[in-house]
């Protein structure tokens, strides 16, 4: 699950880059860059969740 989250994060980055290339006008460009960051946040949340589950199985 942690690795899935870490794989989602670059997808968010490429979404932000795509926004720069595809949208010349400022408003949709900014919106899609924020969407890219949101995808990265989602990936980070999944990675953190995966870390918590792994820790739950090996508490000392």
């Amino acid at each position: 699950m942690k690795y899935a989250g870490l794989l989602v994060m670059p997808a968010g980055f490429f979404l932000s880059i795509a926004a720069l290339l595809l949208f010349p006008s400022p408003a949709p460009r900014a919106a899609f860059v924020v969407c890219g960051l949101a995808v990265e946040g989602l990936g980070l949340a999944v990675a953190v969740r995966g870390h918590m589950e792994a820790r739950g199985g090996s508490r000392s």
Partner: protein
């Protein structure tokens, strides 16, 4: 990007500032040592020295070439590719082993000196988070990886004409991604590397018991922690002012404001952290106040040269509110054992500063440029660092063996403690 010629006065001032800047590194090293346990104190400080040495050597041999400061270009020279009609400069292309340093213009030489310190600082940040269980050899190997590849990549993108710096030219996004004090290249990189180290090495033994809440493992020396904060202030003032001269070409008349903003950001942050911990725990918490102070300084790295004093104070206040709450959230809700608080202080504080530099900018598109830079840090740099550290952990195991952790890193790795005349307390978690 061709830099403006540097006056003799600016050169002398910047050189003097860069000689003072390592005090920030010394301060953070002292803070991180104080936040760790007494039985690992010597290993912690020796680790900082070793990381400084490793990063200097590796950066001189390889990293500086990939950063692309030399020879004499101060940016622009690099590997590029074309995409959608735009040129994307993604990697520096200077000679290896500092070729051309002697003949480079003064500004390029100073920029290189700045980068030497920045790479050491960035690699030192995760060392504090791995305290009490991260092996010295593994810490040095991780520092070498950061100095050889990750830092040069990021520093080229941000400082020496890379694609983030060119966002303004290529896409009309303000002045491109701006980070004069190294909030992204030093602190966010260091903080995200700390997260990768914590994920790979795991928590300290006894931190998260099978039943009940996380165990508090307080730092062993509050005097180190608080004196480190004062030391760090001196270094940070020098660091932010030197960064403003080197990367923003700020006029000498504007530099006092940068220094004042640095101080205000730290002051606002520590005042609010003091108040929050007073309300939360009934008494102010020294180590959290130190973290708040540092978070204010880290946030100022991105924006002290760009904001008004009132805005810098506001950024500090936000950093001061966020720090104690985030430290508690990461430990209690997310099971992250970060003894030095690097993820909160360096990663979150740095991102806050980078956002502030965009939010308070009057240039259209500056906020989007800052957001794209943050997206690159989270979406590319964190997965890359995690992958590299994960591979490195296969070659040089990060975590010390259980017996070494029990007796402490000093005895296990160095054969002697930092305080040989002190009685070392028995650790209740090992009963």
């Amino acid at each position: 990007m061709t830099p403006n010629p540097m006056s003799d006065a600016a050169f002398t001032l910047t050189l003097a500032l860069l000689i003072l800047a390592p005090l920030a590194i010394a301060g953070v090293a002292l803070i991180n040592t104080g936040l760790g346990r007494s039985r690992s104190a010597a290993q912690a400080l020796l680790g900082n020295l070793a990381i400084l040495a490793v990063t200097a050597i590796v950066f001189a041999l390889v990293g500086a070439a990939l950063t692309g400061n030399l020879p004499g270009t101060a940016g622009g020279a690099g590997h590029t590719f074309q995409l959608a009609g735009k040129s994307w400069n993604w990697l520096g292309a200077a000679p290896f082993m500092l070729g051309g340093l002697g003949s480079a213009p003064p500004q390029s030489q100073l920029a290189l000196l700045f980068e030497f310190m920045a790479v050491a600082f960035a690699a030192m940040v995760p060392w504090g988070s791995g305290a009490d269980r991260w092996r010295l050899m593994a810490g040095c190997a991780a520092a070498a990886v950061l100095a050889a590849l990750v830092f040069p990549l990021l520093a080229h993108w941000v400082w020496t004409g890379g694609w983030l710096a060119q966002l303004g030219v290529n896409f009309g996004l303000g002045a491109g991604f701006v980070d004069p004090g190294g909030a992204a290249t030093v602190h966010v990189l260091g903080g995200l590397s700390a997260l990768a180290v914590i994920w790979i090495a795991g928590p300290r033994k006894g931190k998260f018991p099978k039943e009940g809440f996380a165990t508090a493992l307080p730092g062993h020396n509050a005097v180190y922690i608080l004196f480190g904060c004062l030391l760090a202030l001196v270094g940070w003032l020098a660091w932010n002012v030197a960064g403003a001269i080197l990367w923003l070409h700020a006029p000498l008349a504007s530099l006092a404001v940068t220094a004042v903003n640095t101080l205000l950001s730290a002051a606002g942050a520590v005042a609010v952290t003091f108040a929050v911990t007073q309300v939360r725990f009934g008494k102010p918490d020294a180590s959290l106040c130190a973290n708040g102070w540092l978070a204010g300084l880290v946030a100022s790295s991105a924006c002290a040269a760009l904001l008004s004093p009132g805005e810098a104070l506001f950024v500090g206040l936000l950093a001061g509110i966020a720090t104690p709450l985030l430290v508690e959230l990461l430990e209690l809700a997310v099971s992250i054992d970060d003894p030095s608080g690097a993820i909160t202080v360096h990663a979150a504080g740095g991102i806050l500063g980078l956002l502030a530099a965009g939010i308070f900018s009057s240039q259209p598109g500056q906020l989007v440029a800052q957001l794209v830079g943050i997206a690159a840090l989270l979406g590319l740099v964190l997965p890359l660092v995690y992958l590299l550290f994960w591979l490195l952990n296969r070659l040089v195991p990060f975590r010390v063996d259980p017996d070494g952790e029990r007796i402490g890193m000093d005895l296990h790795e160095l054969g002697g403690g930092a305080y040989p005349e002190f009685v070392i307390h028995r650790d209740e978690s090992y009963r």
